[in-house]
Amino acid sequence: MNAPTTSHYPAAPKAQKQESHTLSVLVDNEPGVLARVIGLFAGRGYNIESLTVSETEHAKHLSLITVVTTGTPMVIEQIKNQLDRLVPVHRVVDMTLAGNSIERELAMVKVRGKGEHRVEALRLADAFRARVIDATTESFVFELTGASSKIEQFIALMLPLGLIEVSRTGVVAIARGPEGMSSPQK
């Protein structure tokens, strides 16, 4: 440990516990803003587990980016500060730290099968409150919303029943209570 090296750079830090955090990033909806955010993550070696982005306030040209990332608490703080200093970023809220947020994801799940598998898939979809949005004689596409864990669980159950493919939106999040992200600060 801490053996002297022949490098002029400090040694890599010891592995620390990684945490997963959901960040809501309110940005100006301008060309290149997503590239700035993603480029920051890529350039500084941060992780992106999931990313969603869409315009949320048309009149103000504001978009909301929800990004799920992992890192040590120090790295998570860095990510927030680095994001915050990007010029088109208005606000960064750590939904995980704030603690009172709701997170949802939408998934479309294609399953192919006949006979008992088909019936079982429908039954499970019903239990998960997934909707059938496309059907053929040998396939279904289910639409499902919920927390990521619920979607994971549903996909795991569909696997033996003929899962073909999955398309997921990634996590979106919103804080509980009356306050909004773009409400005036201070």
Binding site: T5, S7, P10, P13, D28, Q78, D84, V89
Partner: protein
């Protein structure tokens, strides 16, 4: 105050409205309309460089020595890509730059057109912000916003990429009153409760020190004055990073010299052993901290920085204060005075005794010679012969840069222009051109190495063209000295590709450029030669032939803490500190 004009005219008009006097640039197809607009006016003087990298470094030197925004104009494609090194340099060292790049016409963007490149894509990670202007209506706002963003908060480079059709297009020019980017509001006032806590901590410190950086210089002259006041009031020792030199006068007894990898023993030992560290406008860079887990283990740390992302990045601090140095220092001085704070006199006395012991080791000492010019001696003589003049120093990157930082004793801020963060060889010569332009009556010296200076040597031609009498003082050791030093100390003396083979005759080179050349090889001739360099009213290439084997000490060896420095005389004991492990990391 709205007027109709072309996009190209708007560019020059906006620069003039921003008070820009000098613009460093190089023409090309995609900026010809702007060059046409330059031709038709005399408010903004264009300085023709020889390479776009030189334009940005010149603008950096200009900005760093004046506190103003440096301005650059380059063409599309290769013009923009050549500017990238300079932009990255400015970003790392927080230098305010506005760089205008030409772009192919909007209908050709993405078409792999002649001299097209994705300028905003390429420069996104190496600028504070950048714009591609696709509508003439946006141009006046963007131009002024660029200056605002470059200069405010933590300064940095901003690129404005303007397609050629937008330069031709007619529009209404007016100077905007506010900024569209409502998300961009740098915090300049520090949190008063935290400043109070910091002052309280300082008042109870037994082994305190100030550790300051380039942020104090960026914050303006007033910040340096306030820093001096606070340091005097408190009576604490002070050290500074490479970028912060000059904010506190080196002649002051409280000054401990630079800290970090090639800092003084006293500065680094004090960093390691202090109980309260007051970091102002510095960022705990890896050249400063050495081994992070052994960095100043027993201290409470106060960190003042305008950029929240600099805080808790490398080192956890106890009292983070987000704000501009001058504002926070002003509050600190006021609170210290009104609270009638006093440092613990007895403890501070003991601390100073300890520091004097470290000073007694004379960590900057070197073996003098009558035969060969020692590089340290050359800098010392240069300092002695120029200290009473109005002098600005730039440097390239390497051993000579560290020796300049160690031996040239700066008394004032904005007098020292060097590439710290990026470590760009070739910075110093074009930077000196920018500095000389901003300070035509001053003595501007680039302390250079023979390898670095060849990277941007062509800019001596710029200096000659504009009659800028910059002095390029080359410590010629015929090696990429710092590379050779690392190879000697860390790679078993295998000097792979670090010898400067086939060097030009710098005196003849100077003559070829219509500049003045001087060569000096003997210590006894040095003073006379330096005086000649100062007296010649022309750009000078001074070939100072120095000891090729001299190493830069003291030095924190790899993977070691501040209290494990090696000094010059102890160099031979370094071998035991070396293992094969970690070579891959450089």
């Amino acid at each position: 105050m709205s007027e109709e004009m072309s996009g190209a005219e708007m560019v020059i008009r906006a620069l003039a409205d921003q008070g820009v006097k000098h613009l460093f640039g190089y023409p090309g197809g995609a900026v010809l309309p702007i060059y046409d607009a330059i031709f038709a006016q005399d408010k903004v003087q264009h300085i023709l460089v020889r390479h776009e990298q030189g334009a940005v470094h010149a603008a950096e030197g200009y900005a760093r020595s004046t506190g103003k925004v440096g301005c650059v104009l380059v063409t599309s494609g290769p013009g923009a890509t050549n500017a990238v090194t300079g932009l990255t340099d400015a970003l790392m060292d927080s230098i305010p730059i506005v760089c205008i790049t030409g772009q192919v016409p909007t209908h050709l963007i993405g078409n792999d057109a002649f001299q097209e490149c994705d300028t905003v894509g390429i420069t996104r990670p190496c600028t504070k912000y950048n714009y591609l202007v696709k509508r003439i209506e946006d141009l006046p706002r963007v131009l002024h916003e660029a200056f605002h963003i470059a200069a405010s908060g933590r300064p940095g480079p901003v690129v404005v990429d303007i397609p050629k059709d937008i330069q031709f297009a007619k529009g209404i020019y007016s100077r905007p009153k506010d900024f569209a980017h409502t998300g961009y509001r740098p915090k300049v006032k520090g949190d008063l409760d935290k400043i109070k806590a910091a002052v309280e901590l300082m008042a109870h410190a037994k082994r305190p020190l100030f550790y300051t950086g380039g942020g104090v210089v960026n914050s303006g002259k007033h910040a340096s004055e306030l820093l001096r006041e606070l340091v005097k009031l408190a009576g604490f020792p002070i050290t500074s990073t490479l970028m912060g030199l000059g904010a506190f006068p080196a002649a002051d007894p409280q000054w401990m010299g630079m800290l970090g990898m090639h800092g003084t023993l006293e500065a680094n030992m004090a960093m390691h052993d202090c109980d309260v560290m007051i970091c102002i406008g510095a960022r705990f860079d890896d050249r400063i901290t050495g081994r992070v887990d052994a960095f100043s283990p027993g201290s409470k740390k106060i960190h003042v920085d305008i950029d929240p992302s600099s805080i808790n990045k490398n080192i956890h601090v106890d009292i983070p204060i987000v704000g501009d140095c001058a504002h926070v220092l002003e509050d600190m001085v006021r609170l210290w005075r009104t609270g009638a704070k006093h440092a613990d006199k007895k403890a501070l006395g003991d601390w100073w005794k300890q520091i004097d012991k470290w000073r007694g080791r004379k960590s900057l000492a070197y073996r003098a010679s009558n035969e060969v010019i020692k590089p340290q001696y050359a800098i010392q003589r240069l300092f002695e012969l120029t200290k009473d003049r109005d002098t600005y120093i730039t440097t390239e990157v390497g051993q000579h840069q560290m020796w300049a930082a160690q031996f040239y004793r700066f008394q004032e801020p904005n007098r020292w222009m060097t590439s710290g963060g990026l470590g760009t060889m070739g910075y110093g010569l074009p930077a000196s051109v920018g500095v000389q332009l901003a300070h035509p009556k001053s003595l501007v010296i680039d302390i250079a190495g023979e390898a670095s200076v060849l990277m941007t040597m062509q800019e001596i031609s710029t200096a000659v063209q504009y009659r800028l009498p910059v002095k390029i003082f080359i410590l010629n050791n015929q090696y990429m000295g710092m590379v050779r030093q690392w190879q000697e100390l860390l790679h078993g003396g295998r000097y792979s590709e670090s010898y400067s083979e086939a060097l030009p005759d710098f005196v003849k080179l100077a003559e070829a450029y219509h500049a003045h050349g001087i060569r000096c090889e003997k210590p006894g001739d040095l003073d006379h030669a330096i005086r000649e360099m100062i007296d010649v009213d022309k750009p000078v290439l001074f070939d100072c032939v120095v000891d090729p084997k001299e190493n830069c000490f003291p030095m924190i060896p790899s993977g070691r803490a501040h209290n494990e420095m090696i000094l010059g005389d102890a160099a031979e004991t370094l071998d035991e500190a070396i293992t094969e492990q970690g070579k891959v990391m450089v």
